[in-house]
Each structure stands twice: as structure tokens, then as C-alpha cells.
């Protein structure tokens, strides 16, 4: 070892050749990124508790969609090959590991792997950490799922950051509006949320919306167990003894499924109606363990709530053919983000087959309106960087013959009805009684 070191130092030529070799191998990565393909960094959970319900459907959706785009199989207006005629190449990264790790991964994607755009992020903490870095690097970034209301409060003058998913406040305003229509007589409301920002904000938005829309309903119990706790016996008892009419929960993933199973087995869901804002994501797994009539949401017009348009039919068929299960809402949201990116890149007015710069894509994306698997999406909030869409809720129904769950009694609310306008926070808008809301 020492000998080889010495000989290396003794022979400048050998050293120079080695250094040149190293430089060549490093630049190979860069060259691969500049091979005429449109490279997208996809970031979603591939490990940990969020991988099954959210990460895997999202990654699967990206694969199905990109394959279809590269073959030019999508219906119009997305029938152009790849993105602007350039083949799409995908780099999939695991979102697990926390915000600091994700910032590092993001820098790696942009600076070393030379991706043309990043689409990703489920965790609100990750979105908040990535946004300033994306602006600093001038990297085209589309958040496809995270729901934090803080995003464009902190990134006040966004340029490269876009979000094609809805603000989490929309979920809870929509849930309250649905209840006001289908259960206007409800008097007692209980809540059970995971004890972190997501659960606390959801409960806050929901209870304040209820105060406005159903002033007679009173909160009788609020439980905030630790995230991933899994056992909810005591919480179910504490809610049961208060005899609520409605139980609101923003639980997701395994926690949500465990809560439904345990609460249903103990009869709580027969005595009270559960409202699960993320309920759609497990629609194929509840089977007969969730009661008919349980109210579920899909965080927008996604998954089982997505409209029957040509684009969604194509997406559903391809997804089912590939994965033997229907796409749930995280899958629809991933498809929406990629379609938004394609729409913007192809409207950036560059020659066909060329890849537009991040600034050109961002300029075209800002304030755009595009078609998606969920219908028409307007980038109408946060100065054209935040999507505005309607939201729908419905009741779970299980068909024992087919062993399939579905949604019935669906009511959709328009984007203008549930989305806070720019210049005000969601909570201020709710407390003020939703001024300017246009509801159907």
C-alpha cells in the first residue's frame, strides 16, 4: 500500500493519468444527464410506514405514466412523445430519513445527477425544507402530495416551486361541508388525530370549519395519540363513553386501518359515523371490517373520486393491468404532478425535442390550467404556484360478492368553495366565515 502510494507520487505521469480517469468517470454521470433525455427525479417513500399506502402507489403511478408517455400512448393533449419529444428518464429516490437527508438527496439530484425537474415529497417537513433549496438552486420542483399550509407562507415569492396537490385545509373544510349536507343534525363531535403537525392542523381546521358550518355541534372529545402507536383501545373507550355522533380523523396508513378495525370491532363505528379525510387510500383493504356509510375522502378528486374522463380511464386501465389493483389517491396525485410538468414544459415554447430550462418551464407552469386524471387543474393560488381544485367526499360501501369497496353518495365541492384565497391564511379565512367562497 505504502509502496504503491510512493510510486504514484514518484511518477507524476501515472498520477495525472489516474486523476484524468477519475475526472472522466465523474463527468460520465454528467454526460449521462445530458443525453437528450428529460430526467425527472421522483422522490417518495420507498421504506418505512408511509411506503405501503403512499410511496409504492406513487412510484408505480410514475412508472406507468412515464412508460406511457415515452411510447406516446396517452390520449390528447398528452399524446406527444415523452416531454416535448424528449424521452423521459426517471431517477427514483427514497423519501425516508428526515428533512436533512432529503435536502442532501435533492442537491445530489440537481447538481450531480443533473435532473431537469424533481417531482415528489409526501412529508410536509420535507417540502418545507426543500422549497428554499429549490429556489436557491433554481431547480424546477413539483410537490405532489404534501399538504402543509405553511409552504407558500414561508416561500413567499416562489419561482421554481409548484404544488399540484391541495392544501390540507381543503380536506377539512371539505369534510365539514360534507357533514353539513349529510348530517346537519349531528350534535356531538369527537376527533382522533396523530400527535404531530399534520394531525393538530387537521383538527384545528376541521373544528373551526364546524363552528362556522354546524354551530350547534359541539366537540365532546379530542384524542391525539402518538403517530404509529397501532393500539387504540383506551382512545376508543374514551370516545365511546362520550357517545359522539361524528368521529373525525386525519389518521393515515397503518394507523388508520388499525383504528377502523379496532373501533369497528368494538361497535363504535355503528354508534357514530367516522369521517376519515385520508380514508380512500385503504379502500381496497377495509373489506367488511369498515361499516357501510363510513365517510371517506381522497384529499381531492383523486383515486376513487377521480372523474371518468379519457385520461383517467387510460391511467386506471394501465395501472390495474400492471399492478392488479386500482390506483388510490397518492397514485392519481403523482400522475397529476407529472402531467402538470409535461404541460408546462411543452408550453415553454422551445423547439420540439429540446429540453426547456427550469426558468422556461416555471414561467409556463405559473398560473397555468391543465387537464389531469382528476379533471381540470388551475394553478390559481400562491401567485400561480399552488393548484386549486375541488374536493369530494363519499360513503364507503362494501360489496361482499365482488369483495370490493366503493364510494357512494359522493358530493363534490368546487375549488372556489373550499380553497382559501391568496393573502389570507386558511384559519383566518375559516374563522371569518369563508368570505368569497363560491359553493355549488
Amino acid at each position: 500500500m505504502n509502496n504503491s502510494k510512493k510510486s504514484m507520487l514518484k511518477h507524476p505521469l501515472a498520477f495525472a493519468i489516474t486523476a484524468a480517469g477519475l475526472a472522466l468517470s465523474l463527468s460520465a454521470g454528467v454526460q449521462a444527464a445530458e443525453n437528450g433525455k428529460f430526467r425527472i427525479g421522483i422522490v417518495t417513500f420507498l421504506s418505512g410506514p408511509a411506503a405501503g399506502p403512499f410511496g409504492e402507489p406513487s412510484a408505480n403511478a410514475a412508472k406507468v405514466l412515464v412508460e406511457g408517455l415515452n411510447k406516446g400512448q396517452l390520449p390528447a393533449p398528452y399524446d406527444k412523445l415523452g416531454i416535448n419529444g424528449a424521452e423521459i428518464e426517471v431517477v427514483i429516490i427514497d423519501e425516508a430519513g428526515g428533512a436533512a437527508k432529503q435536502v442532501e438527496e435533492f442537491r445530489n439530484l440537481v447538481q450531480r445527477q443533473k435532473v431537469d425537474a424533481v417531482v415528489g415529497y409526501i412529508s410536509s417537513g420535507d417540502c418545507l425544507a426543500i422549497a428554499p433549496v429549490a429556489e436557491e438552486l433554481g431547480a424546477m420542483t413539483v410537490f405532489y402530495d404534501c399538504g402543509t399550509s405553511q409552504l407558500f407562507k414561508e416561500d413567499k415569492t416562489p419561482q421554481y416551486v409548484f404544488r399540484t396537490s391541495l392544501d390540507a385545509a381543503v380536506d377539512n373544510i371539505g369534510a365539514a361541508r360534507y357533514l353539513a349536507k349529510v348530517r346537519p343534525d349531528a350534535q356531538k363531535v369527537a376527533g382522533i388525530q396523530q400527535n404531530y403537525a399534520w394531525g393538530q392542523d387537521s383538527w384545528n381546521d376541521f373544528t373551526h370549519s364546524m363552528e362556522q358550518l354546524m354551530p350547534k355541534a359541539k366537540v365532546v372529545e379530542s384524542q391525539m395519540p402518538k403517530v404509529f402507536q397501532g393500539q387504540y383501545g383506551a382512545e376508543i373507550s374514551a370516545i365511546s363513553v362520550k357517545r359522539p355522533d361524528i368521529i373525525h380523523s386525519s389518521f393515515w396508513g397503518g394507523d388508520m386501518e388499525a383504528l377502523v378495525l379496532q373501533a369497528n370491532a368494538r361497535g363504535l363505528l355503528e354508534d357514530a359515523t367516522a369521517v376519515l379525510t385520508c380514508g380512500e387510500s385503504a379502500i381496497d383493504r377495509y373489506k367488511d371490517q369498515a361499516p357501510n356509510g363510513m365517510i371517506i375522502g381522497g384529499r381531492g378528486p383523486f383515486g376513487a373520486f377521480a372523474p371518468d374522463n379519457e385520461l383517467n380511464r387510460w391511467f386506471k386501465d394501465k395501472y390495474v393491468a400492471a399492478y392488479k389493483t386500482a390506483p388510490t389517491y397518492p397514485a392519481s396525485k403523482m400522475a397529476q404532478a407529472i402531467l402538470g410538468l409535461k404541460h408546462a414544459a411543452e408550453n415553454a415554447k422551445v423547439e420540439s425535442g429540446k429540453i426547456p430550462t427550469p426558468l422556461q418551464i416555471a414561467t409556463a407552469f405559473k398560473g397555468s390550467t391543465f387537464e389531469s386524471v382528476s379533471g381540470t387543474v388551475q394553478m390559481a393560488r400562491a401567485d400561480g404556484h399552488q393548484a386549486m381544485q375541488g374536493i369530494a367526499y363519499g360513503e364507503y360501501q362494501y360489496d361482499p360478492a365482488n369483495k370490493k369497496g366503493s364510494v357512494q353518495n359522493v358530493i363534490a365541492f368546487s375549488g372556489e368553495c373550499v380553497t382559501p384565497p391568496d393573502g389570507t391564511t386558511a384559519l383566518e379565512w375559516i374563522k371569518a366565515g369563508f368570505p368569497g367562497a363560491q359553493c355549488n
Binding site: 410506514p49 400527535n195 384524542q223 402518538k226 383506551a234 388499525a258 371490517q289
Partner: protein, 299 residues
């Protein structure tokens, strides 16, 4: 009044689950002085094995319901036996006599390896094998609806605790084990095959871990990372009761279970804090835990 009754019921059910999870951990530490971080993975392996096999059994209508319960317990015990033997014979026996801190690091590494192995075998999608939980139905106790499966868990936990205690206190093998716990070197000098005892205890501890996971699986959605979540709770229970003590784990589980249930019913905002509050309080008064022995350091 109703709430007080609910606290007792909920607290006891939660305590029984905690005891199941913590029993294997405390047995291994008591005899081998290994703070086994991989115990959470044993729990997860039991849960995944049971959920996948039980799910397959019920979804395909293979046989009678009672056989499904036997399958659930049997597969967990077999999984524990195999995993325990592989780890003890293949890794830990080469590490005996090392520093306790090093053993923590080794078992932590094992936890990471096992987490990825499970991901490789079962993937990341949740497993939902609810039939054993749902089939048992529910009972109304003074107006409170309780799952019969949860009540059964209390019984299983009590029987298991009693068996472990009787084995340690009333059998020849238990006496030998206690001798090893008391002084490993003297026991060895008296002709006890300590290495064989280590194998036996580690496999038993692993089987207790997988059994706890299998018994929990029907009531939850089995997801990646579930083993990491329970290990902190199990440590809290074992530390409160005194590391290495079966009766300590039982009392620790009851204390934590009842305190947590009381917090959930009367002061939900303290629910997260109460478990560690109890632990801090006990350690402030008895640093060795409620049933732990103060050991003189050998020089």
C-alpha cells in the same frame, strides 16, 4: 364512574400487551446481560409471519376458524425458534463476554439488517389479517363494548407470565438459570453449561418476541418499521420493573398501562408524557427498577 371502569379495562388490556412484548426482552437481559435492540424485529417477524399465513388461511377458506388460531401461534413459535437459533448460533455466541455497550451496538446492527430482510421478504405493503380479531366478537362489560380478542390477550398474558415464573422458581432448570443470573462464573465452576443455557434463553426470548407480534397482528395493520416503534415502550416497561425480572416486567406493564389509560381518559394531552413520567419517577426512587437487584461491581 364509567370512565374509571374503562380505565381499569383499557389499562389491563394495554398492560397485557406490554407484558407480552417486554417478557422476552427482560428474560434475555436477565440471563445473558444483552440489551437486545433486535427484540423489536423479532416482534415484527412474528407479526408478518402470522399476518401473511393467517391472511392466506382465512382468505382462501382453508379450514376451520380454530385451526387459524393454532396456525397463528404455531407459525410465530416456529419463526422465533428458527430466527433465534440462527442469530444465537451464527452471531451472538462469538460475542459472549464482550462489553454490554458493544452488545447493544451489535444488536442494533442486527435490528437494521432484520428490518431490511423483512422488507425484502414481505415488501412495504401493509398486511391486514383481521379475521382472528373479528371472529371473536365483542362483549359488553357494564355498558362498555370490549373486543373478546383483547380480553383473551389478558388471559394469554397472565398464563404466560405465570408459566415463566413457575419455570424460573419451581423447576430444576429454573434454579440453574437463577444460578447463572446470580453469578455466571460460579455457576460455570459448579458445572453448569452456561453456553447451552444462553442458547436456550435466547431462543426462548426470541419466541416470546415473535409470539407477541403474532398475537398483535390481527388487531393492527402490519407495516414496515413496526418493530422499532415497540422497542422503546418495551424498554420503558423493563426498566421500570427492573431489568431481568419477570415479575418486574408484569408490574411495570401494569403501571404503564393503567397510567396511560388514565391519561387518555382524564388528561389526553399528557398521554405521551405519562409513560416516561412514570419511568422517571420510579428511577428517581429506585434506580435499579422496582424488582431489580443492586449488584456489587466485581473488581
Amino acid at each position: 364512574m364509567m370512565s374509571l371502569f374503562a380505565v381499569l379495562i383499557d389499562g389491563t388490556i394495554y398492560a397485557s400487551w406490554l407484558f407480552l412484548v417486554a417478557a422476552g426482552l427482560t428474560v434475555i437481559y436477565g440471563v445473558m446481560r444483552i440489551l437486545n435492540m433486535a427484540h423489536g424485529s423479532f416482534y415484527a417477524i412474528g407479526a408478518y409471519t402470522a399476518a401473511s399465513l393467517v391472511g392466506w388461511y382465512f382468505n382462501n377458506g382453508i379450514g376451520p376458524v380454530w385451526a387459524g388460531y393454532l396456525l397463528m401461534l404455531g407459525c410465530a413459535l416456529v419463526a422465533g425458534l428458527i430466527v433465534g437459533l440462527i442469530i444465537e448460533r451464527g452471531l451472538l455466541r462469538f460475542m459472549y463476554g464482550r462489553d454490554e455497550v458493544l452488545m447493544v451496538i451489535i444488536t442494533y446492527a442486527l435490528l437494521l439488517v432484520l428490518e431490511d430482510t423483512m422488507k425484502m421478504i414481505w415488501g412495504v405493503n401493509p398486511y391486514f389479517a383481521y379475521q382472528p380479531y373479528a371472529e371473536m366478537g365483542r362483549s359488553a362489560l357494564a355498558g362498555l363494548k370490549v373486543s373478546n380478542y383483547d380480553l383473551m390477550l389478558v388471559g394469554v398474558s397472565a398464563v404466560l407470565g405465570l408459566c415463566l415464573w413457575l419455570w424460573l422458581e419451581r423447576t430444576h432448570q429454573g434454579k440453574v438459570l437463577r444460578a447463572v443470573i446470580h453469578d455466571r462464573e460460579v455457576a460455570m465452576a459448579m458445572g453448569v453449561n452456561v453456553r447451552r443455557m444462553f442458547t436456550l434463553v435466547f431462543v426462548l426470548g426470541t419466541m416470546l418476541g415473535t409470539l407477541a407480534g403474532a398475537l398483535t397482528a390481527p388487531a393492527i395493520s402490519v407495516v414496515p418499521g413496526m418493530g422499532v416503534e415497540v422497542i422503546v415502550l418495551a424498554f420503558a416497561v423493563v426498566v421500570i420493573g427492573g431489568m431481568g425480572s419477570i415479575e418486574g416486567a408484569a408490574v411495570g406493564a401494569l403501571l404503564v398501562g393503567l397510567s396511560r389509560a388514565a391519561a387518555v381518559h382524564y388528561a389526553p394531552e399528557f398521554e405521551l408524557f405519562v409513560i416516561y413520567g412514570v419511568m422517571a419517577l420510579v428511577l428517581a426512587v429506585r434506580p435499579q427498577g422496582l424488582f431489580g437487584r443492586v449488584l456489587a461491581r466485581k473488581i
